[in-house]
């Protein structure tokens, strides 16, 4: 087997392959929970790959909603600290948009003064991505250049061709998996590769047809024209838009326990006023509208300046969760044309 070629995995071989992988690693995959697809530890059985990308992004396996940064134990006035080592995981079925989010976060948490817990999890996680051949309703990855096909950033990439999956390695770890589990794979037919291209082109058209078609450059320009005060009036401050976004990464830190305890870090949201409120009570972004504006500026101006990538990957999740009927992307009607 060589590193660059493509392989074919028959449908019925997928579960046996995962079973083998699960012997040494925790396998995380979309499974059905009360009828809904959600990323969770796979414990055998059916996978929920036909559903749209789960609402809770697998980014939480890199930036957990809550994690212990370290534990402190006090002994006669001095402290000793302990940290948990990252766990070895394989994430199966990560979609191109979420993969793109990972690249953006690499540019923030992986760059200059890398965030150690993130870097640790990044290193110990194997990513098996899955191209989107039947995109969801609110998806606009194509506008953001993040899908429906993945480009790099994965260890293995799968494309559902109906009878089975086209499998392409993207890293030495991916090649290693292909080698170690050879018997499940066969050499792909050149026709398979063409079939993949065809399906992705179709999916791309589908997205343009029904999803919001947005031009990020125009959004950037349009931000200042939006009536943010009005948008802020409808916002119910649920924080959902940032808590669900795979790119949003802000966090807060808190201690729990005296004299021994844990320093925790938890996901935060800049939609809340306490996020930026200062000791004096003064707040640089006192109104909801200003906070919403900051949210967009960060995604379309500041993050691109920092990472060269947009801070939105077009997964559409923020619109799905918005409680206030803030029609999040129609704010930019002009930009859509």
């Amino acid at each position: 087997m060589t590193g660059t070629s493509a392989f074919f995995l028959r449908r019925e071989d997928l579960v046996p392959l995962l079973e083998e992988l699960a012997e040494t690693l925790e396998v995380v995959a979309p499974v059905l929970v009360e009828g809904e697809a959600a990323f969770a530890t796979w414990r055998g059985g059916a996978l929920a790959l036909d559903d749209k990308n789960p609402l809770a992004s697998p980014m939480e396996f890199f930036l957990p909603k809550k994690e212990v940064l370290f534990r402190y134990v006090q002994y006669s006035g001095r402290y000793t600290f302990s940290e948990d080592p990252p766990r070895a995981r394989l994430i199966f079925g990560m979609r191109p948009c979420d993969l793109q989010a990972l690249k953006v976060i690499d540019g923030i948490f992986g760059a200059e003064l890398p965030d150690i817990p993130y870097a640790g999890r990044r290193r110990s996680t194997i990513i098996v991505a899955l191209n989107c051949t039947s995109p969801g309703e609110g998806c606009f990855c194509r506008s953001m250049g993040s899908g429906p096909g993945a480009e790099g950033g994965y260890d293995l990439l799968l494309t559902d061709l109906g009878r089975g999956y086209l499998v392409e390695p993207g890293s030495p770890a991916g090649v290693y998996i292909l080698r170690a589990h050879q018997r499940h794979f066969e050499e792909a037919d050149p026709e398979d590769q063409r079939e993949k291209e065809r399906l992705l082109a179709l999916a791309g058209e589908e997205i343009i047809k029904r999803g919001p078609s947005l031009n990020p450059e125009k959004i950037r320009e349009a931000i200042d024209g939006v009536d943010w005060e009005e948008a802020g009036r409808r916002c119910l401050a649920c924080g959902g838009c940032s808590l669900v976004c795979p790119v949003c990464h802000c966090f807060s830190v808190l201690d729990q326990g005296v004299p021994d305890g844990e320093r925790l870090r938890c996901r935060d949201t800049c939609i809340l006023s306490g996020f930026s409120r200062m000791t004096s009570g003064a707040n640089p972004r006192p109104a909801l509208g200003e906070r919403l504006r900051h949210w967009y500026l960060d995604k379309f101006v500041y993050i691109p300046e920092k990472t060269g990538l947009f801070g939105c990957v077009g997964c559409g999740r923020c619109s799905r969760v918005c409680l206030g009927e803030v029609d999040r992307w129609s704010l930019f009607k002009e930009a859509a044309e």
Binding site: Y72, F81, L113, I116, P117, D255, V258, R263
Partner: protein, 293 residues
Amino acid sequence: MKMDRSKKEADANGGTKIGRAAGAKPESYLPIQAEVVDIDVESSNTYLLSLRPMDEEDELVAVNYSPGQFLMVSVFGLGECPISIASSPTREPLQICVREAGKITQGIMAARVGDVLGIRGPFGNGFPVGSMRGKNVLIAGGGSGFATLRSLINYIADDRRDFRDVTVVYGARTSQDLYFTSEYGSWQAAKIEVGITVDMMDASWKGNVGLVTSLLADLDPVPGTAALCGPPMMIRAVARDLLGRGFIEPEIYISLERHMKCGVGKCEHCTMGRYHVCTNGPIFSYDVVGDLI
């Protein structure tokens, strides 16, 4: 030895990049432990704490910083918050000046000599002390923002010949709220002009009453480079005044405060437009942030 090294570090760090002390791993969220070795009461709600890193390998933290940088200080069980370094790297010990604001600051102030606090850092860019050399320096502080300026003043005082005219103006609410009163004499001795004012008159106060800007009118500092820290209102007024005197925007440095959680540009609490105050600041020149404050 130590002093030379710290001077180089400070000059190199200041105004350019994120500070990084040899012993500390700034990217780790694990603090190092520092013992409180002395506590001075600056005012009824403000203490000056002297700290000494407990592990030998962390000792450099106590000298490898530049004026204007800050630490993330932990009280385990209560949390961590940003506190400016109040001492100068030219003098040990490392000092912080803490004013009661809430849970964590109260926790820091409850520490007694011998107790252990956690520290991470130093963080932030610090004042561009390298480029301040050879210039006239005006230092203007208001309220509790004076702590970070004291670091700069002592740094300059210890290397006085390298700087031209140095003027300090400082205002607080009442005479009881003035910090570092015992040091003004030593600054004056080092040929630093010092003007002090308070907002509210009281029986024990014989000095100026009024705004910091009124001191500027009296002292009439020669244009050069300026370092400002204090409440936004005061900063705006002083900056405007200085511009009127012929100071130029890129030479007016302002130390800013924002809500901070990580200190390393990740948590996004301290964002101010495209800047992270924790890594791009907290010192910004007026031409960069003038319209943001």
